[in-house]
Structures are given as C-alpha cells and as structure tokens.
C-alpha cells in the first residue's frame, strides 16, 4: 500500500489561508490503513483546525468533512456529488495520486495536499510502516531472495554489499539493516547463493519513463496523451 504522513498542522493552516469554506476529504483505502487520512484522521484534523482557529482568533474558515472509498479512482469521486457545491477548496488527505485525481476530476476546484506521500510499504507492527517497493518497473526479487536492493539498500546497488556495512547495519543509518547482508542470508538459507554470484548489469532507467502508463485494455484508451 501507499504510506503517507499528515503534514504538520501549521503547514495546513498556512495553506488554507486564502480559502473560506474548506472540505477536508479523506480516503478510505491506503490512507486509512496507514493512519494518515482516513475517516478518523479527517475528524481529528477537523477538530484541530477548528480549535486552532478559535484559539488564534484569526481566520473565518468553515469546515466540512467527508471520506470517499478511494480518491484515486474517478468512479468513487462521482460519489462526492453535492459535497463540493458550497466549498472553496478541498483539503485532500489522500496520497499524491488522490490529490491529482481530484484536480483532474474537478478542474475549477483548488485542491491542497494534507499529507506527504512517503512510500510504498507494509505494516511492520501496529503504527510502524516500512518501505518495501520503489516501483522500479523491473522487478528483480527473484534474484535477491525476495528482498529489494533498490528499495532497501541506500545506494540501490546490484552486485553485493558496499564496504560500509558494519554489524550488519548500513553506513547511512546504523539502525537500518544492510539489504545485501539480508539478501545473502536469505539466499544462503534457500541454497541459492549462485544468484548472488551472478553479475547484474546496470539498471535500465528507460523502464521508468515518467510518467508511466499501463494499459490492460488497449481499446479503452484512444489517442489520449499520457498524463
């Protein structure tokens, strides 16, 4: 899933200054799971913004709140309906994709990002998420024992550990495991160390011409430019 963190309250207060009526819009999918922008966080933020306004005595914002199933899917944005009729801005607690999907869906409506989209990751334990995929477009997990060197090695190198590893930890962050030590240990367990002995050529960055598009049904997209 996509993992994000809510922006600091003072940043959000600064962003909404030019607008009076603010719709705080949550997302019921990834942002709910990572506690950054689901129904609960929308409600907390609503209260926090009202309280901050009352305390400061500045601003005359009115706030409303709503959460859709998925902001990144136009089908679910249709459900917004009248919710946007009387607002001046949407403060989205969706990921960066959600914010952009709303901007495309509502061309005349300003939309603000309420979270910093951080990475694609997994739940490590309650309240802890770890990055696991860089969406490089060329998955090599078959060769690396299911551990991604692009994501988990700070240098993203492909042919084994650098010399900076100490006690199994990365030179960039002593709390972070060296991806290549993990890969070695896992391949050893799987009796697949030959995979580590292979030479891996430089990455093909053409696998990620930005922005990317995937078409599962070619006929549904007709001649429209990407992005």
């Amino acid at each position: 899933m996509i993992v994000a963190e809510q922006k600091p309250l003072e940043d959000i207060i600064r962003m909404i200054v030019p607008y009076e009526r603010v719709l705080i819009l949550g997302c019921g999918t990834c942002m709910t799971v990572c506690d950054a922008g689901g129904e609960r966080e929308v409600s907390f933020l609503h209260n926090a913004l009202q309280l901050a306004q009352a305390r400061s005595g500045e601003g005359a914002h009115t706030f409303s709140e709503h959460t859709v199933k998925r902001q990144c899917d136009p089908e679910f944005l249709e459900a917004l309906g009248e919710k946007t009729a009387d607002v001046d801005v949407i403060l989205s607690l969706g990921c960066g994709i959600g914010v952009q999907a709303i901007a495309e869906y509502l061309p005349d409506m300003p939309v603000l990002p309420g979270v910093n989209t951080s990475f694609m990751g997994m739940t490590k334990e309650s309240g802890v998420w770890d990055e696991r995929c860089a969406a490089c477009g060329e998955c090599r997990l078959e060769d690396t024992g299911g551990i991604c060197p692009i994501t988990r090695c700070t240098k993203g190198i492909l042919n084994g550990p650098c010399a900076g590893v100490k006690n199994g930890k990365c030179e960039a962050n002593k709390d972070m495991d060296c991806a290549w030590i993990l890969i070695y240990q896992r391949l050893e367990r799987l009796q697949q160390l030959d995979k580590m002995r292979r030479y891996y050529p430089p990455r093909n960055f053409r696998a990620i011409p930005r922005p990317r598009r995937i078409m599962s049904k070619a006929e549904t997209v007709t001649g429209e430019s990407n992005g």
Binding site: K155, G168, W180, Y199
Partner: protein, 300 residues
Amino acid sequence: MANSLFEEKLSSNDFIITTEIGPPKSVDVSEVVHHIKLLKDKVDAINITDHQSSVMRFPSIGGCLLVRELGGEPILQMTCRDRNRLALQSELLLAYSRDIKNVLSLTGDSIDVGDHKDAKPVFDLDSVQLLKMIRTLESGIDMGGNELGAAPKFCIGTSVHPEADFIEPQLIKFDKKVAAGAQFFQTQGIFDLASFRRFMQYASQFDVKILAGIIVLSSAGMARYMNNNVPGIIVAQSLIDELAAVEKGKGLQKGIEIAARFIKTIREEKLCHGVHIMAVGNENIVPDILEAAELVSSSR
C-alpha cells in the same frame, strides 16, 4: 606493453607503495602541490580521493592533473555516487587524453555521511559495473553501444574489505570485481593481520595484486571516532589501547610506529604485493612512515 608506469610496476615483483592525497575544499591547491612534490618520488603512485566521506572538495581529476604536471604517477579515484554513466565515461575520456591511465573504481560513501546530505545520490552504476564499463570503453564502444573515435586503455583497480565483520558477501563481491577486470585492489584499512592473512589465503588464488590499506591513526580518540563514523573502518581494540597508553601529544608518533610495524610485517612475510598508505589529512608524515618501515631505498 604496460599502459602506465604503475601498471609496469604492478607486473614487477617489487613491493608496491601507493598513498593518497585528499584535495581541499578550496581553489587554493598549494598544499596539495606541496604534498605531491613531497611524495611523488617516494611512492609508486598517488591516489587523489573523490569527495571522500561524501564531502564536497576539489575533484580527483583536478588533483590527478596536478600529479601529472608535477611528474608523479596519478591514480584517479572514481566513485559512482555523484555522476551518471555519461559523466563517468566522459571523465574517463578526459583522464586518458591527459595521460591519467590508472583508475580506482569505487561505489562511493553514502551521501548521508557527508556535508551535502540533501543532494541526490546517483549510483547509476555500482563499482562492479563501473569496472565492466571501463573495459567496454577500451573495446572501443561506449555504454550506449556507440563507437568511440579512439579508445582508451587503463590500468584499473578497486577496493576490497578484508576485515569486514561478515566476510562472505564481501568475498562474493571481490570475485565479481576480479571477473569484471580489476587488476589491483587497495584494501580498506588493515588493523588485524590475522584476518588479513585469512583473506590473502583466499585472494592469492587470483591473478590480481593486493595492496594492503594502511590507515595512520593519530590518537585513540581518532580511532574510536573512525570506528563510529567512518564507513567500513574497524580498528582493533588492541591498537586503540596501544594509542591510549602513550602520553599526550605523542599519538601521531605512535600511529606512525604502528603503521610502519604493519608495513614491515606485511613485507617481510610477503603477505601481499604492497601497501596503500592513507594518512587521512597527515600526508606530511608519509615519508616518516616509509623511513620507519625501512622502505626508503636509494632507488626511490
């Protein structure tokens, strides 16, 4: 025929001595010039470091040009941290055209340990891929598959970490570097000869030259600092104790003594093919180490 004086030296049976100079964060290169003049006739080649510890400085290629101008034998250090494959290849063309024909391929320290922590880390290639790329350039084509008007020919080396606390993955990488065309290795700092002997038992099966990395310690505090902060350095506790036992102000002298002792042992026991002395900011004392190690002969 050898590509460089250093390559010729590598193919001899002589004990090889290299050292390195860290360029300044300045346009004033007078100190580098001083160090080059001091060392060029005492060692077989001088590495110029490439933004060591990810700290922005005068570049390796610039320092190598100075070594050439002053009549020394330069080794261009090239890390993958700051340049993509276009920039790396073009710099190699520049180097060769200026008679800089020894290259040391390194991954490069993490951006996070340096003084520009917000910079974009490049790592378009890694050190093994860089070695392969150099051999590809020598075949007359670039990484894009295009022909070069004229091809370079280098003497190439890289590094290895014989004292890594988990050696097996490092040895796999060592094998890959040999297969990719490395001719010589300048090792990370050697502080424990027993583990270095074990490494050499493994490494001696390959037709490559190993130069043991000798880092000159200047105090127990510096040794502890390096253990905690410098990637890949593991100073043995016995050496820290030895440094801590000397009176204040005598640390560097003790460091010189330790370095010389290691060099003498390595040479006498023929543990490997030579040494690479890293004085880390104390380049002035390299001649003292050579003298203490009885390596100053009439031929140098």
